[in-house]
């Protein structure tokens, strides 16, 4: 299935592994430091039904306006230590990153009805093309550009592939299992 969604997202339980989503509306950027900060101090905006993006962008400021130059996903597994608590506390609907996440996040996705989606790693320019502006930025002075909480205005941001759904399924488990079998077969022939 292909979905073209507007934020906030009301029902993330409908998405299945392999579904492709394009987002129009807002995406909120949060990496390691931002997760920690929001968990410690609370979020400056309502994150219910939000799309959270693991990303440290390249941005420039021209004539007082932020311009997003390149903004692909960062490796999500680093956020595994925060994400379950983050989902429980703020109830976002879609997490966007690369490489997938672990067992703790998968359980939280199931419990609170959210999904994890993968955006193609390295595709910073393509992402920037779909980012139409910066609505706001929080904690910029304290955390710096890559770690600040950016609120991006986006149009048809994607393709986001659902790789961990709200029913306890992880696409990565299937790929890993197959790859392990392939590895054993290859090693046996060397």
């Amino acid at each position: 299935m292909e979905y073209h969604e507007k934020t906030p997202i009301e029902d993330a339980r409908k998405y299945k592994l392999g579904d492709v989503i394009y987002i129009t509306g807002e995406m909120i950027l949060a990496r390691d430091e931002a997760h920690k900060k929001l968990l410690d101090e609370g979020a400056p905006i309502n994150l219910k039904g939000a799309v959270i993006y693991h990303c440290g962008p390249v941005v420039t400021k021209k004539n007082g306006e932020w311009k997003v130059v390149s903004a692909g996903p960062t490796t999500s597994i680093r956020m595994e230590i925060f994400e379950d608590e983050f989902i429980e506390k703020f109830r976002p609907a879609i997490i966007v990153g690369k490489g997938g996440m672990g067992e703790r996040t998968l359980k939280a996705l199931q419990k609170y009805g959210a999904v994890y989606t993968a955006y193609t790693g390295g595709c910073g320019a393509l992402a920037a093309e779909r980012i139409k502006g910066v609505k706001n930025v929080y904690f910029l002075d304290e955390l710096g550009i890559p770690e600040a909480v950016w609120v991006f205005k986006v149009e048809e941001f994607g393709p986001l592939v659902v790789t961990m759904d709200a029913h306890g399924n992880s696409y990565y488990d299937n790929v890993d299992e197959k790859a392990k079998k392939n590895l054993d077969a290859i090693l046996a022939q060397i």
Binding site: G18, C55, G56, S70, T120, G122, A125, K178, A179, I186
Partner: protein, 283 residues
Amino acid sequence: MIDEIVEAIRRAETELSEDTVKALKDAYEKETNEMARTQLKAIIENFTVAKKGSLPMCQDTGLQTFFIDMGYDFPYRAELKNAITEAVRRATKEVPLRPNAVHPFLHKNSGDNTGRFVPYIHWELREGDDAVIHVIPKGGGSENMSGLYMLSPGVGIKGIKKTVIEHIFRSGGKPCPPTIIGVGIGGGADLALTLAKKAAILRPVPSRHEEKFVAELEDELYEMANKLGIGPMGMGGDTTVLDVHVEYAHRHPATLPLGIVTQCWANRKRKVLIDSNGHVEVV
């Protein structure tokens, strides 16, 4: 020459090298896995948009790295280091690049991609009076998937093959596959890794070593790596590596160093050619 080095950095960051463009398009044509095709299509769209808009193709614009291949009689050798450092500062503002130079103890980002030992410059000398500067900014995600294995010589070529394939398996989707794998065999620990980095990045994709038995090893590793089924971004598929390049040095009788360097699909590289008359060209 500073202008030309800035230009080479800009082109490396915003225009994917032609060989890699072709390799990725060929992979898309051949790929049979639907998920993998979605990923490869996004990558192709991405480098097309990056080139058109002169935007860095990836937001991780890398650690600024330069391999210099220089003649003994190159007359401008004393200027190169300062020119490169200045070019990196300018490129950081002009391209722009993400500031990626952090003090390991103080956690402070220098803000301009320079600092202690960076930009990293690797020098090699040869006969002649010209210089080639390889401009190869390298992303952190793929660099994290480097490996050094000090094997027992007794494990032989079989042991090397197993270690390389297990390494690619463990790397999974983390280095942003489809990747280019550089394998350095022999020398000492540092030389094995240097050979691996040169093999991964400086050689065209695809290409084969001039010595037959090395070329055959490359073919075999390439076939095996793509049988793993890790696929683009580790989401399954036929395309895990775009190529495998092997280089070797003679080894100490008691050691068998194996260096592995992984390059992401964003295989960023340009060359600055400078002759003895000061004529500079970016290719």
